[in-house]
């Protein structure tokens, strides 16, 4: 019962913070609400006893990526007064693509059969040892592919950021 209560609180928090990300006028507040959103999602992982996933989520997203994002927003100094209004074409394009996204999501929601909620039994599959075991046996190929992708992205970033030597 109490775990259901925690779930509802977390769910409400994640939805609310996600909405605030969109509705905040100040981009700094948007970023901070996004961090709150990530935390509530990490809370969901912990509810499923996926401790490793939860903490990695916090380290990678809240700890590193959002710091960089906050960094950029702070340096750009996006204030209401200085921000130019976007052209009509951009607004229209954003509206259409957002609407299409909604359509796809709704369609996929309709076609999935939502089974009854089965409370997950106490499992240790979310522990570090077990996650590592599965990653390096059953899912070795996708795991290695992802790491190749990451290296490609890293090298790309270095190449882009490097100043040309005269």
């Amino acid at each position: 019962m109490s775990s259901q209560l925690i779930f509802f609180i977390l769910a409400a928090l994640s939805i609310m913070s996600a909405l605030f990300v969109v509705f905040s006028k100040n981009p700094i507040y948007s970023v901070i609400w996004l961090i709150v959103c990530f935390f509530s999602i990490a809370g969901h992982y912990i509810m499923l006893n996926a401790q490793f996933l939860a903490i990695v989520h916090i380290i990678v997203y809240a700890g590193a990526i959002m710091v960089l994002m906050l960094f950029t927003v702070m340096l750009l100094n996006l204030n209401k007064a200085t921000e130019p209004h976007k052209p009509m074409l951009y607004k229209l394009a954003a509206m259409i693509s957002g609407g299409l996204m909604l359509l796809v999501l709704l369609a996929s929601m309709r076609s999935t059969a939502l089974g009854a909620y089965a409370s997950p039994a106490y499992t240790e599959s979310g522990y570090v040892q077990n996650v590592g075991m599965v990653l390096f046996t059953e899912f070795l190929l996708p795991f290695e592919m992802t790491s190749v992708l990451f290296i490609a992205a890293m090298i790309g970033a270095v190449v882009l950021a490097k100043k040309e030597v005269h």
Partner: protein, 354 residues
Amino acid sequence: MSVLVFKAILVVVLFLVSLGIAAYSTYAERKVAAFLQDRIGPDRAGPFGLLQPIADGVKMFLKEEIIPTLSDKFLFILGPSMFMVTTLMVSAVIPWGMPLEIGGEMFALQVADVNIGILYVLGVVSLGVYGIMIGGWASNNKYALLGAIRASSQMISYELAMGMSVVAILLMTNGSLSINHIVEAQGTGKLYGFINVSGMNWNVFYQPVAFLIFLICAFAEANRTPFDLPESESELIGGFHTEYSSMKLGLYLFGEYINMFISSAIISCLFFGGYNFPGIEYLGTILPHNIVSIISVLVLFGKIFFFIFFFMWVRWTIPRFRYDQLMRLGWQILMPIAIVNVLLTALGITLFGN
């Protein structure tokens, strides 16, 4: 006594101890500085100036509180509060001593023995940067913003090398991330396989390189000299806390000392056997269990105090780095060494067993 009551008491005690140690660290810092510079240091308030932290605290509370007009008020207050909260959160996963026996039941002196222990530490440490960044930005001051940006890039850079040096330790303990397991493993077995002193199988004897990297990164994470560029007073006035006054400034300064205390505790647990000490098994046979537990707590605090002293010693000995030197040290020196160290450790374990 139920486990929950015991844990609640432990949390409160830890909170008070952290604050007390942080308060007296300020006194110790000034005394150490005075000693290193051949001065006397604070000696007016109470005997040997022992009441100085209390006087400082009262001063902090009574000073006028200024919130800059053009600052973001909510974030301005949120910054120091978040900084304090994140520094206090780490103490939850540190095993402070051997279990206590109360009424025939064993109570572990650790708030939460989570499966992800050391990752939790790294996660919370990486959140510590928000307090600085938010505070520095909300001040609406160029110096504060520069300090905040320095702090965040520095902390992100050194987190990587820190995590890598911890990986080598994890390899030593069969991949368990629980700090409790790491400490227990250092209390069993023989040092190098033949030196038979109980409670002396410390990781630092196997992983001196990882220890050095972790120590340097801990300095950088705690924004202490030689890496205190975020608040270097000769360039940035006060860095991220330039605009802060009264107790909000106090929270930032306090947080730094709590950071130091917690980093010392983590270093002691990961590399110096935590609460283990030579001869712990022998003492266990001649003294009651609870007495040995209390001695183990005292031993851990002794190690922590040594490292806090070490932090201060370095602060008053080594000058500050330049910013590009700091980045080069983190990315081009510490990071590769840490990776090579992990590879060598893995190779060693594969070749020679544990």
